[in-house]
């Protein structure tokens, strides 16, 4: 499998604090990866760098077959290139219906001029309806997303990501604040998504990571501490010392 995203030798510091320290990471085309690590390990900063929110002090971030550098691109351009991001707190457009949320995310021209005259076709609406069914919101299409429960908002945000048809999904703590049933459904959605694209899941919950059944990267103080299967990394003495032992 070819490499989709390659992060190499990336460092970034905030006011002298090194949040990311010579971090290297790579993920293939259709791969699921869990990233774990204690608080302050740099998980969110890592996502910020990939999505263009934070510019690193040094290092390279290369994308796709042509190995394009993401560092010179704006957030919007990176998103258009195929990187989708889910925030820790569910962030959907609460004043708009589920349908409007999904329509906005559908992979279509993003410039303001084509958008001005865009009207959804039957096909687009059908696509949105299917997507809503997939994330369990088929009956809630016309409801304002602000009325949805916490778990439903999390799904809607995943749905928004899927509608973008990204090649890489960055998901920050998708199961936070969910009931056990909701967690199970979330796992299913993510595993399904990883069949056709790369998915990076940042998560604290070991049970959840185990269910994802994928390769795990452990971050500590801004760099990779260990990488491999969950059983492999949990038996690693370093990992036990800094993370699991506490």
């Amino acid at each position: 499998m070819s490499t989709l995203l390659e992060v190499s030798g990336v460092s970034v510091s905030f006011d002298g604090f090194r949040a990311i320290n010579n971090l290297s990471f790579r993920i293939a085309d259709a791969e699921m990866r869990a990233v774990i690590g204690p608080n302050g390990a740099g998980k969110t900063t890592f996502m910020d760098i990939v999505t263009g929110k934070t510019k690193p002090d040094e290092g390279r971030v290369l994308w796709g077959e042509k190995s394009v550098s993401l560092l010179k691109m704006s957030e919007a351009k990176i998103a258009q290139a195929g990187v989708g991001r889910k925030f820790q707190k569910p962030t959907v457009f609460e004043d708009q219906s589920v349908q409007e949320n999904l329509l906005m995310a559908l992979k279509k021209p993003r410039g303001w001029f084509p958008v001005l005259s865009y009207r959804p076709s039957e096909e687009d609406l059908a696509k949105v309806a299917t997507l809503a069914d997939d994330i369990g919101l088929g009956d809630a299409l016309l409801r304002k997303s602000g009325e949805l429960s916490h778990g439903q908002k999390q799904w809607l945000e995943i749905g928004i990501l899927l509608a973008q048809e990204p090649r890489l999904l960055l998901v920050d703590e998708p199961a936070a604040g969910m009931t056990p049933e909701e967690r199970e459904k979330t796992t299913d959605i993510l595993v399904e998504a990883a069949k056709t694209r790369a998915v990076v899941v940042v998560e604290h919950d070991m049970e959840f990571v185990r269910r994802l059944n994928c390769k795990v990267t452990v971050l500590h103080e801004g760099s990779v501490l260990a990488e491999g299967s969950l059983d492999h990394v949990t038996s690693n003495q370093n990992v036990i010392d800094v993370y699991l032992g506490r």
């Binding site: 991001r85 962030t91 906005m104």
Partner: protein
Amino acid sequence: MNRSFVARNPSVLIFLALLALFTLGVTVLSEGFGVGMISTSFVKTLGKTLCLCLVAVAMDLIWGFAGILSLGHFAFFGLGGYMIGMWLMYERTRLIVVDALAQGSMPPTPQEVVDGIGNQIFGVVGSSEFPLVWAFADSLVLQLALVVAVPGLLALVFGWLAFRSRVTGVYLSILTQAMTLALALYLFQNDSGLRGNNGLSGLQNLPNVTASQDVVSMWFFWGSALALGSGYLLAAWVVSGKFGSVIRGIRDNEARVRFLGYSVEAYKLALFTLTACIAGIAGALYYPQAGIINPAEIAPIASIYLAVWVAIGGRGRLYGAVIGAAVVSLLSTWFTGGQAPDIPLGFYTVKWVDWWLVLLGLSFVGVTLFAPQGIGGLVDLISDRLRPDRHGADLGPDQGSLREKEAHK
């Protein structure tokens, strides 16, 4: 979702019908074309009010829908007025000068005519040369184009600089205030080329028109009504589709929109420029009815009033902006015009000319605290729209985002 535009936005049809009815009513009652129950000066007041409603619609687009609290839109409004005022003044003065020179024995050369006009217009600021900005003043078509182009270009340049640097929230508001203040101060100077603090005057007299003001005022009234109707329709169309979704998304959660792949800056810039153009058109219709424009019109306070109108009317709904601008500006005319009866309290007499601003300030605070949906929220009582119960949470993390009390289910 795929129903027609009107079916999805019944308020547009209702608004246009009411506007047409109002226009017809005023026409029938006017001095120029009807029974004469409404004086010409009041027709002008109503016409000017329609222009203010139009600029309020522009303000609602940028603030109510995109969450950008611009406190500089009266700069664009004033620029539109200046652009049309230049032609009106030039052309009328030219006719006078040509008439005067025709009395002489020799027919005047074109240069003599131009010099004569220059003397007439700029004598008041001790000059007679035409500054560069008047280069197109002899052409109505070009000046009409400038009504849209000048505010649009200023908005484009200002917006590009501000949005590109990701200036948001209160900082952007301050920046827009600085812009309008700087423009006003510049125009106050005699050598700015627009007659300093004298401004442009006599704009109510249309060149080559012999009709009385009774008739001319109605022309402008109709023009203003037409502009408001088209502007409202355009605004409703812009916010009805996906563009509307995106800008409301920007209002509530800018970062999310960015990570969806939309270039937030481009959207803000497009909308900012569009609203500046609408404001310019509104100004170009307003000042011929007012008769005079001077730099005081674009003082920072004017743009703040604009935000107050939209807030009192109810932001985020277009008819709210229209209602707010109409009610507050008409009330303001009534109170400050000395028509409101004073209230004698024995020890003190409340004179509304002095106390109107206090009343306006209190109602602004009252509306933001207790009824953020404004006057437009009264419509919800009829249409049974409910407020969501969000336990006090606003609809987004951004500063311009809709508040719980402004939203509806």
